[in-house]
Subunit: 115 residues, 2 copies
DNA sequence: TATAATACTGTGTAACACACAGTATTGTCA
DNA sequence: TGACAATACTGTGTGTTACACAGTATTATA
């Protein structure tokens, strides 16, 4: 098998592994109100690259589920749409964090075993 | 929002978070040859529940990508299909583990911050 | 003997990340 | 001043895959 194909496969698998944490990342960052573009930068700072075409539908989806609420703020230099966790969203995030701890310990058990 | 709906949403989000690690789990367990049904039980022992209708297509997919190889073994009490990581699969698994460590440290940073 | 456990195969569908495309406004620089 | 970049958001289409649903066969058990 070509090294190029291996890289493709690896990248795709990494992608699949990452997708699970992006939701929690977004929700965690929205414990405080933030607008989409700034959120994207904050995610990037956390090492999570996410395109606008992925982020905005995700925000819409979480809002539809009433985990987020959004509002337009007319401000300098331009209007922005701010998102914030709802109380329900906070509850859900707390639950997700428990799951993350489980995933974390599973990762530790797997990677430590074969170090 | 109904508590029932929240539970649904939480479960679905947990599910999405888990999917990322199932691939690595399967590959890790197949560092040694194992047949499908036994693999499913081993996964379950690791806290990862996975139906046959999910596991077998995943095994097929990984085999198509040449990360796994399989063979029928005629044995007592019945023939079984064994799966084992290929050398390529071992390479890929090592790469995935690096990614898992990244995810792990990200989880730590997020959950510790808000403890 | 009927049912459960063991073991595997195949098809269909919902969900969603990402690709692709677009819009508008403000900022920067030659 | 105008072209391009950055800022900021919206919408549609598609590929992928977990899971739902369905099925098969053999062995084990009550």
């Amino acid at each position: 098998m070509e090294p190029k194909q291996i890289t493709e496969i690896v990248e795709k698998l990494k992608q699949e592994m990452r997708r699970g944490i992006t939701i929690a990342a977004v929700m965690q960052l929205l414990s405080e109100a933030q607008y989409g573009y700034a959120l994207q930068k904050a995610l990037s700072d956390s090492g999570i690259e996410m395109g606008q075409d992925t982020l905005y539908p995700l925000l819409r989806r979480l809002e539809e589920q009433e985990l987020l609420a959004s509002e337009w703020r007319v401000e300098d230099p331009r209007p922005r749409r701010y998102y914030l966790l709802t109380p329900t969203g906070q509850t859900v995030l707390a639950e997700l964090k428990l799951e993350l701890k489980r995933i974390e310990s599973w990762i530790r058990s797997v990677t430590d075993e074969t170090k």
